[in-house]
């Protein structure tokens, strides 16, 4: 992790090699393989337009998976993603109904709502010690309930603001969608957070053994809560961007993101038990899942076949590099 660390040890690999986790390398290899396989079906799978389009679509999943990864590194999970995404999107659009101020604050407001849901999750997990799998399931139900009430309550505003649309579909640099940059920024921040900050170290520590982290004087509860809040915020931000992409918010926006986010994180080599994993892996996982879904969706086969191939491919890729080490 630190660049000056070369002194102490005998025979360490150079820094860049040491960082390359074989799992991540294989994951990127699988991405290439998928593209090559796809190109047998249609040449356009290798076209820059298609690849950029995939990168753009992957960005939404990428941002959501970033939050999911943070939580998984703690050995927890966030099942409230679907309705946090929807809440972020819907609330951002809703804010836009309140004049220019509302429009200006739309994006932060949407994110804030996600952070709110995340905080409830965090309090439940960190302070009430409820297993994350179930608190987040419950908050997901509550968020859904609130959104249903909200939609039915009064004629809701659900068009995305110009800013949201710009973030998702605009291109500051011609050809490269802004949202890809945003994912890049979020990702860089995450890498920095995980590698270079005390918070990141603490996250890994807690994921490995919370008890030891606590006895080391780390404020484990605050960190867990913060991580959940961040996950909520990132999910909601993903929702906001999705609303920008679709020009509007809708209720079921987040449904398609829960299982793929988990799968992407784990496919990227992060241990579901916490404490182990790199962000680069998650990037690979996100791209893998996005490509796989995309390629399958355009091949003309019955949905049943798509589902079966999707499942088999994930298992094969995991078998290739995602296996736990043999214990003897």
């Amino acid at each position: 992790m630190s660049e000056t660390a070369m002194t102490h040890v005998n025979g360490r690999k150079p820094n860049f090699l040491r960082k390359l986790d074989p799992a991540v390398v294989t994951a990127f290899g699988c991405i290439l393989l998928l593209l090559v396989l796809g190109s047998f079906y249609s040449r356009s799978f290798l076209s820059p337009e298609y690849l950029l389009q995939q990168l753009k679509v992957a960005s939404f999943l990428g941002i959501i998976a970033t939050g999911m990864m943070l939580v998984i590194l703690l050995g927890q999970i966030d099942l409230s993603v679907p309705w946090t995404v929807a809440t972020g999107a819907m609330m951002a659009c809703a804010a836009a109904a309140y004049g220019p101020v509302g429009t200006a604050l739309a994006i932060p407001f949407g994110i804030l709502c996600g952070i709110g849901i995340g905080l409830v999750n965090g309090v439940g997990v960190a302070y009430l010690r409820i297993p994350s799998m179930i608190v987040t399931l419950a908050t997901n139900a509550v968020a859904q309930g609130v959104m249903v009430v909200y939609t039915g309550g009064f004629s809701p505003q659900d068009s995305a603001t110009a800013a949201m649309r710009y973030l998702s579909t605009g291109a500051l640099i011609p050809g490269i969608p802004n949202v890809v940059f945003i994912w890049g920024l979020v990702g860089t921040a995450m890498v920095f957070l995980l590698r270079r900050t005390g918070f990141g170290r603490a996250v890994y520590g807690i994921g490995n053994r919370e008890r030891a982290a606590y006895l080391s004087g780390i404020n484990t509860r605050r960190i867990v809560m913060t991580a959940f809040a961040a996950s909520g915020g990132l999910s909601a931000f993903g929702g906001v961007l999705l609303a920008g992409y679709a020009s509007k918010a809708s209720q079921s926006m987040g449904d398609a993101y829960l299982l793929p986010a988990i799968a992407a994180v784990v496919l990227g080599g992060t241990s579901i038990l916490g404490g182990r994993g790199s962000y680069l892996g998650t990037v690979a996982g996100v791209i893998l899942i996005t490509l796989l879904q995309s390629i399958l969706s355009v091949t003309q086969m019955p949905e049943a076949g798509r589902q079966i191939i999707y499942g088999v491919m994930i298992i094969l890729m995991l078998l290739l590099y995602g296996r736990a080490p043999a214990s003897r």
Partner: protein, 326 residues
């Protein structure tokens, strides 16, 4: 402490689940326009038993410190299969039932094999196999349909002696014939031990792989029993993705309400069964409280949140903060 205190401590999770269920069910029937009648109970039982089977299946995997996100899809797949096979003469029907259960067990065994021999993390492995099982279900039933031996279906979803819901009796029989022998067998104990500490179990020379594999296989079998009952209850097969997913997620909620630890090694399928019944009763409460229809989902969410927060009350008794991290 004496024996009974230890035993009470051992079963606390299960007993809490029973208590939560009883309280909720009393509130429900006390406010039901039809009251505590055989019909109302039969209706509640038929609905509750389905989730109870799925939750029991989930429990078997969860005690090994795994999780099965494909359990709802096994439930769907076996439902679709049953809508083809469990028809006709008694012999054909029996044959059909056997095949359906065997397919469920095979699905469970596949999950187990991938997790054990493939050494994959259960959560993603079962996301993937779930997609496969759903795909197969969809092949079997591209759209809803099929039929079932209605005599058998009516018998198993009806009432025994006009009082006891047959589905409840079947559930009890499954508990006695599958869960109890399993949990008391050497393999069952190995499954618990693996969930509690895999290394320790291995070092103690337990048959951990076989224990785990058996747990996954029985889990598939019990999920298939659920799928079979779904067919008896609806007379059809239906590969509804959303419904399969819902059952998977509900089963996790039920398992937690039932006092089974998601970290493995602790809890009982009996607790999970009551957790499932309690979870189902949350939905039933909608009938007896006159809520605006759009507020109903929120109400359900809040009740669930409240029910799981009950467990947090125990925190106030913890005087050694290290106990938070067990």
């Amino acid at each position: 402490m004496n024996d009974w205190q230890y035993r009470l401590a051992e079963h606390r999770g299960t007993l809490t689940a029973v208590a939560i269920f009883v309280v909720m069910f009393i509130i429900y029937t006390a406010n039901h326009p039809a009251g505590f009648t055989a019909n109302v109970i039969q209706t509640a039982a038929n609905k509750g038993v389905l989730l109870a089977f799925v939750a029991m299946a989930q429990t078997m995997v969860v005690i090994t410190a795994g999780i099965d996100l494909s359990v709802g899809m096994i439930f769907l797949l076996t439902n679709c299969l049953a809508s083809w096979l469990v028809v006709g003469s008694p012999l054909e029907t029996t044959f059909g039932v056997v095949i359906v259960l065997a397919v469920g067990a095979v699905c469970g065994a596949i999950n187990g094999a991938i997790v054990i021999y493939g050494r994959l993390q259960p959560i993603v492995a079962t996301i993937a196999t779930g997609a496969i099982y759903f795909g197969v279900a969809l092949l079997l039933r591209p759209f809803p349909g099929g039929s079932v031996n209605e005599g058998l279906a009516d018998a198993l979803t009806g009432r025994i002696f006009g009082v006891v819901p047959a589905s409840l009796a079947a559930l009890a029989a499954v508990v006695v014939l599958i869960w109890v022998p399993f949990s008391r067998s050497v393999y069952g104990r190995a499954a618990y031990a693996v969930g509690s500490s895999e290394t320790a179990a291995y070092m103690s020379g337990m048959p951990i792989r076989r224990g785990k594999l058996l747990a996954y296989t029985l889990s598939g079998l019990v999920a298939a029993l659920g799928g079979l009952f779904l067919t008896f209850f609806t007379y059809t097969g239906d590969a509804a993705f959303a419904s399969g997913n819902a059952y998977t997620l509900f089963s996790i909620a039920a398992v937690v309400l039932g006092g089974v630890s998601l970290f493995g090694g602790k809890g009982s399928a009996i607790g999970a069964v009551f957790g499932a019944l309690a979870f189902r009763t949350i939905g039933d409460l909608l009938f007896v409280f006159d809520l605006d229809p759009l507020w109903q989902p929120l109400f359900q969410g809040l009740i669930l949140l409240a029910a799981i927060s009950l467990g947090a009350l125990a925190l106030f008794r913890v005087r050694n903060r290290l106990e938070w991290f067990l």
